[in-house]
């Protein structure tokens, strides 16, 4: 079958998807086989999870604040200012929290993974690992993937918590929304399933950032220029993949966890 492969872009995309899928499969089978180096996982959690907190908190605070202000400006004209709370809350849990955290972590962690593994590749350190009978998937990819899967849902939760706190502050202290109504409506319209959706998305985005970052690093060629290219590609590919997968994930998860009604 020649047709789709005659386009260079189609061929490059097929090749990339093949490599990424193979890497994901090898990492998955290693995890299932229990080849998890917990000491390395803990080190990665510190670097990925702990080290990303400042970025995620600042993102959460200012996203919550500005989103609250914009919703208030629109809703206040319709005398619906107390509806700001639920709109902000549901949007943060279902979309903004996981997507923005995913994008920020893709920028910070995906780039670092790709640069570190890519540098190891071009300086023969990956070959040295293999020559020492150490599987690079087990040693480099699995700890990063497991650390991401543990850290990302927690970072999403942290982002949403700070975003909601900022939203409450902006709405009630700056825009003079009644705090009792704000909290009551927010609590009424926000469900456990919204939180499950946020954490599920966080988990899926963690897998995307880890696999794309590691795959780009492991396929690095051509020295320092290649490391730079891999790093850029890791951020671009993981960010775009997160945005695209998010749409399909939203549609699928909405069947399992349909957007809810208020609990009065």
């Amino acid at each position: 079958m020649k047709f789709p492969y005659s386009f260079p872009l189609t061929r490059a995309f097929s090749l990339y998807m093949g490599q990424a899928s193979l890497l994901a499969w090898e990492a998955f089978t290693s995890i299932l086989a229990g080849r998890i180096r917990w000491r390395l996982v803990l080190r990665q959690i510190v670097e990925i999870g702990f080290g990303s907190q400042a970025v995620v908190i600042v993102t959460g605070i200012f996203t919550g604040a500005v989103f609250t202000a914009q919703i208030f400006f629109q809703f206040n004209a319709l005398n619906m200012s107390t509806a700001v709370g639920p709109v902000v809350s549901v949007a943060l849990f279902r979309e903004l929290g996981p997507v923005l955290t995913g994008l920020m972590v893709a920028g910070r962690v995906g780039a670092a993974m790709s640069a570190e593994i890519g540098t190891m590749k071009v300086t023969e350190q990956i070959d040295a690992l293999r020559a020492l009978a150490v599987n690079p998937i087990d040693y480099l990819v699995v700890p990063r993937a497991v650390a991401m899967m543990i850290s990302m849902p927690l970072l999403v939760g942290e982002c949403i918590f700070f975003a909601l706190s900022a939203s409450y502050f902006v709405a009630t202290r700056i825009l003079n929304v009644n705090s009792v109504f704000f909290l009551h409506h927010m609590e009424s319209y926000t469900h456990g399933k919204d939180m499950v959706m946020a954490l599920t998305k966080g988990f899926v985005f963690a897998v995307i950032v880890a696999i794309v970052g590691c795959q780009q690093g492991l396929s690095t060629r051509n020295g320092a220029v290649g490391v730079g290219r891999s790093t850029t590609d890791a951020v671009v590919i993981s960010s775009l993949t997160i945005l695209m997968v998010n749409f399909f994930l939203t549609m699928a998860l909405n069947i399992v966890f349909p957007a809810g009604q208020a609990r009065y």
């Binding site: 300086t123 350190q125 040295a128």
Partner: protein, 252 residues
Amino acid sequence: MNPTEGNLIEVRGLRQTFGGQEILRGVDLDIPRGKTLVLLGQSGGGKSVFLRHLIGLLKPIAGSIRVEGEEIAGLDERELEPVRRKIGMLFQDGALFDSMTVFENISFPLRERGLRDETEIRRKVREALELVALSGQESKMPANLSGGMRKRAALARVIISEPSCILYDEPTAGLDPIVSDTINRLIRRLQSHLHVTSIVVTHDMISTNHIADRVALLRSGRIHFEGTLGELHGSPDPVIRDFIDGRSHEID
């Protein structure tokens, strides 16, 4: 089996291409157990590529590689691990892990093979560092070492796990004559005391004269010559003479 009898590695019809260019065109070579074989050849002639096949870092497009009688050409990464525990490799620039100290680098193979006794690990690392004349450098990062020190630290990382065979990729390239001599003596000592089989890829004739039991010359992707050091020096073959005497035939 006697540690100096028979062939440790047997290569037949090994072929490899990169980007359409044929680098190895059917290499046949036996690597005798317990001896030092030096593989000579021009830069870019495929010597390092050949070496990488012997430990499964590259897969040939055709041919056979037998290590202690076991065919390794078709093995996957996990199946290759037992072979790689028997064969160590010194990379051209050392390939030390730059996120680890010298001590962590050298102790890495021991920890990976399950040794947990810290006293034993420290003792073995100290011995390995003494052997390569790098005592007292344990806490340094690879970035703070000179080229020669990096190479010696990498050699300590190879020998600490006591492999029966060591592959050296240009072990003396870029080193001053004194450090080169240290490495040459070490290769000799490992062979004479521990019967380690060594395969040394180089174009350094001084080094070759010092360490080789047997010599092979790789030319145009094939083994052009294979024999003892005496046979190499006694050969009337103009290709070998040019290589030994360092003569090119380009017009001045």
